[in-house]
């Protein structure tokens, strides 16, 4: 059975292919990883800060985030994760987790023992390279987030995040519309950007008033992509998207 036949590993392979090109043999090796799939409800921790996991996971379906708890009450979301992402890839090489990972929507998650990943890497140096590059891209995203949180005013920050999430979420679907499912709450946006929920709400209203977006009932529509980009001081290079995502959206000035 060819690797395409494994619907569990398929998003993960697609994601890695957006990082580096893979041979058929390499894809097959990934597809044959011994995985264990689970359904998880929304708003549930998958792993917790301080854990010493023996396996890593990747997301098959749904949206998650990773976060840290700061001063025992505030939460900082450090990343959102979509199908194909491996949010705790780091655990393969770092013994103790420094983040918790939680589902936002109900998710299907696949687990793989570290053992199996390490073997895979040993047998396929190009896959190691893919993982390393994946980590490098994550780091670039973190740098951009730091810049946003540290130096951009709240409304700009929000526009910037919406741009990023639009690209990352729409890369998954087949159609090229400017309307996507958007399951992230205003509270979560605030936790990701270091802004209070109230202020997120008011800033979103400003973006709506400028006719840049429509956001309602879990659906985000980009009414004016280039306007939103300008409002968010956004340029997508840091995401290192290879041409498999809506060209139009990435290229459009």
């Amino acid at each position: 059975m060819p690797y395409r036949g494994n619907p569990v590993t398929q998003p993960f392979i697609k994601r890695l292919e957006s990082v580096i090109s893979l041979s058929e043999i390499e894809k097959e090796a990934i597809a044959n990883l011994p995985v264990r799939t689970t359904e998880i409800k929304g708003d549930q921790d998958i792993v917790r800060e301080g854990d010493r996991p023996t396996r890593m996971c990747f997301i098959v379906e749904g949206v998650c985030c990773s976060y840290k708890i700061v001063s025992e009450s505030k939460r900082q979301i450090v990343n959102f994760h979509v199908p194909g992402d491996a949010p705790d890839l780091q655990s393969v090489h770092l013994a103790v987790l420094d983040i918790s990972i939680a589902t936002i929507t109900p998710c299907r998650v696949a687990f793989v023992q570290h053992e199996a990943i390490l073997q895979l890497c040993e047998q396929h140096p190009n896959i190691t390279r893919a993982f390393w590059r994946h980590t490098l891209i994550d780091a670039a995203i973190y740098r951009e987030w730091m810049s946003s949180i540290g130096r951009r005013p709240a409304p700009v920050r929000i526009a910037h995040l919406l741009c990023e999430l639009f690209l990352r979420l729409s890369a998954l679907s087949l159609n090229e519309s400017f309307r996507i499912d958007f399951p992230i709450t205003q509270n979560e946006i605030g936790d990701a950007l270091g802004i209070s929920t109230v202020h997120v709400n008011r800033s979103l209203q400003a973006l709506r008033r400028k006719n840049l977006i429509a956001l309602k009932d879990g659906t985000l529509e980009i009414l004016d992509w280039s306007g939103l980009r300008r409002a968010g001081d956004f340029s997508p290079e840091y995401l290192q998207l290879r041409p498999s995502v809506p060209e139009s959206a990435v290229a459009a000035q």
Copy 2:
């Protein structure tokens, strides 16, 4: 000539050994890398955002930072670098640099062609693993910085950064004192933490008033390590320090 004989690569090797253990053969291979060393004055860009370098660098002597320019005027420092660090390791796998790297003090910097690094990785899978792990640790540091910038009030942020920098800087020197050279200006602290210089100044005064630190004329003295840790909500795990740094400082409650 044994690898110790190469004073240029020595800090880099020491740094990698803090990431993963290396065999004599591996260390020798690194020591034999074809490098090109340069002296660079303080406050000088080494590489710039947007560059497509064909070589990477590591720091032999001095302190640098990497930064991004946000909205064409504000600066976000995303990391500080000390001898042994490879601030643009990423360039080996990501074509376009998303950060600029600048010296803070005058520096001695060594350059290595990507070519040579890639060869090294091919021949020594364990070195690839070291680089990957290095990148993972950097990412963990970024996550901690994001949490700080996003969720901690300015005085806490500053105390936190001082703790981190103290550990990273004192890991280099031989003696285990609580007094270190500290060449970073208040303006740079502000750019790293997303705070105005004026506010950095006032927050530092608060830390002095509490008898936690003495900072003057480029020298930082930690007067009360556990107090500063508490003030900065700091725990060092995210730095993934292996026991080669002042045990006392890391362990001390």
